[in-house]
């Protein structure tokens, strides 16, 4: 087994889609809160396989998209400082700040390096002791353990020219915010890889408190369609509970080693989400013992605006209130080559996925 192709069987996908059409008698609105789901749904043309009475909404699950404008501007500020090196995941490079992006900072001479893992960033710091190496840490519970282990290693080896600007976030507060904001949904397609770390138990509150269905889904076409079918059934029978479709990688309790590492390094803080504003205890900042490696603590920053100075409606899209096509810039002045907003940058961003795969779906 390779754990990919087996879940892309065209025949099985079609048969799953007809099972969904057969059982879906009412109207359903399900939200996926993971950028990789948004991407997979579009990439595999799954929307065209679903009946019109099932709507899939994209929620606040793309880390690049939900990171606040002021976070982007802070990294760009550090990139412009003498002696600084910014080591970043590639997705952040082209996110527009209020004045420019990291990519344009590089054209102006800033030292920006793309890394695949925070460990590479630490390695760059160890090899360049005269430079201040900063890693802008984005991502949900999936990515936080990687940053946490890197900080543990930095502290142990006492590498003091390395620091992290943390925009790490945790998923449940945003899922609460969607519901509290009055967005009508019948079910959550819960993020599979976040759940690999946290376990599925963190979603129990949604069926129990709000009567919203919850299924932890994998990322292949059959995974997603099976999850939709499971959600339809929960709604049909009003039997709301947390189910795991992605059993090959998710358990109820999750990865306890990773949870311990997160707890050792990070503590929760109120954090700003694009589109939502400040959500209580929704972000992770390094604990006091890691202050030396916390860029927020180490450096002084100017005050930055939270809201981008454009007509971008990313914030509304991240709440599932609007579609990319509702934005007057979509596909015109905003496209993957020239992104105006964060949602057009990352492959997990809703606008990016809509733009890239719209033709694909028409053909399907």
């Amino acid at each position: 087994m390779k754990f990919i192709d087996e879940y892309r069987n065209r025949e099985m996908v079609k048969r799953l889609a007809s099972a969904i059409r057969y059982e879906a008698g009412g109207h359903y609105r399900f939200m996926e809160v993971c950028g990789s789901h948004t991407h997979a749904v579009r990439r595999h043309g799954l929307l065209s396989l679903l009946p019109a009475n099932i709507r899939l909404l994209s929620g606040p699950g793309c880390p690049v998209c939900v990171s606040d404008q002021s976070f982007i501007d802070k990294i760009i500020y550090l990139a412009g400082m003498k002696g600084f090196t910014i080591t970043t995941f590639g997705d952040l490079e082209r996110v527009p700040g209020n004045e420019k992006s990291l990519a344009s900072s590089r054209e102006e001479g800033a030292d920006i390096r793309i890394v695949y893992s925070p460990l590479e960033a630490l390695d760059i710091a160890a090899k360049n002791p005269k430079r201040e190496v900063v890693f802008p840490a984005i991502g949900f519970e999936t990515t936080a353990p990687a940053t946490a282990i890197t900080l543990q290693k930095a502290r142990k080896a006492n590498i003091r020219n390395f620091s992290v600007l943390s925009a790490h976030k945790i998923m449940p507060p945003a899922m609460h915010a969607v519901i509290d904001d009055g967005i009508k949904i019948n079910g959550y397609i819960c993020p599979g890889h976040v759940s690999s770390i946290t376990g599925s138990k963190i979603y129990n509150v949604f069926p129990e408190k709000y009567h919203v269905a919850a299924v932890v889904a994998g990322f292949e076409p059959m995974d997603i369609l099976q999850s939709v079918l499971m959600l339809v059934r929960q709604v049909n029978y009003r039997n709301f509970h947390t189910e795991i479709q992605y059993k090959r990688a998710v358990t109820v309790d999750g990865n306890s080693i990773a949870q311990d590492v997160i707890n050792d390094v990070f503590e929760e803080q109120d954090d700003i989400w694009r589109g939502f504003g400040v959500l209580p205890k929704s972000g992770l900042k390094p604990r006091e013992k890691y202050s030396n490696w916390n860029a927020e603590h180490r450096f002084d920053f100017p005050k930055y605006n939270s809201v981008p100075d454009t007509s971008c409606i990313c914030g509304e899209i991240l709440k599932g209130k609007k579609e990319p096509e509702d934005c007057m810039l979509f596909g015109k002045s905003c496209n993957p080559q020239h992104p105006v907003g964060a949602c057009m940058v990352s492959p997990e961003g809703c606008c990016n996925a809509h733009f890239k795969y719209q033709l694909h779906e028409l053909q399907d």
Partner: protein, 72 residues
Amino acid sequence: MCLSVPAKIESVNGSKARVSIGGNKYQADISLLENAENGDYILLHAGFGIQKISEQHAKETLQLIDEINRKT
């Protein structure tokens, strides 16, 4: 960036492993995993193994899907 992909462990050296994704080789940190061994598939994310993939559950899921389809 949230991408996590199945990778096969080819050799283990302490908390490090060499893994293969579709024939391409990568270095992975496996300190978040308990008893990861050669031949295991893991989810690789940002250079770290974040979970072992269960072959048994993978097969059960496929079987379940097959049964759903047969009934409709």
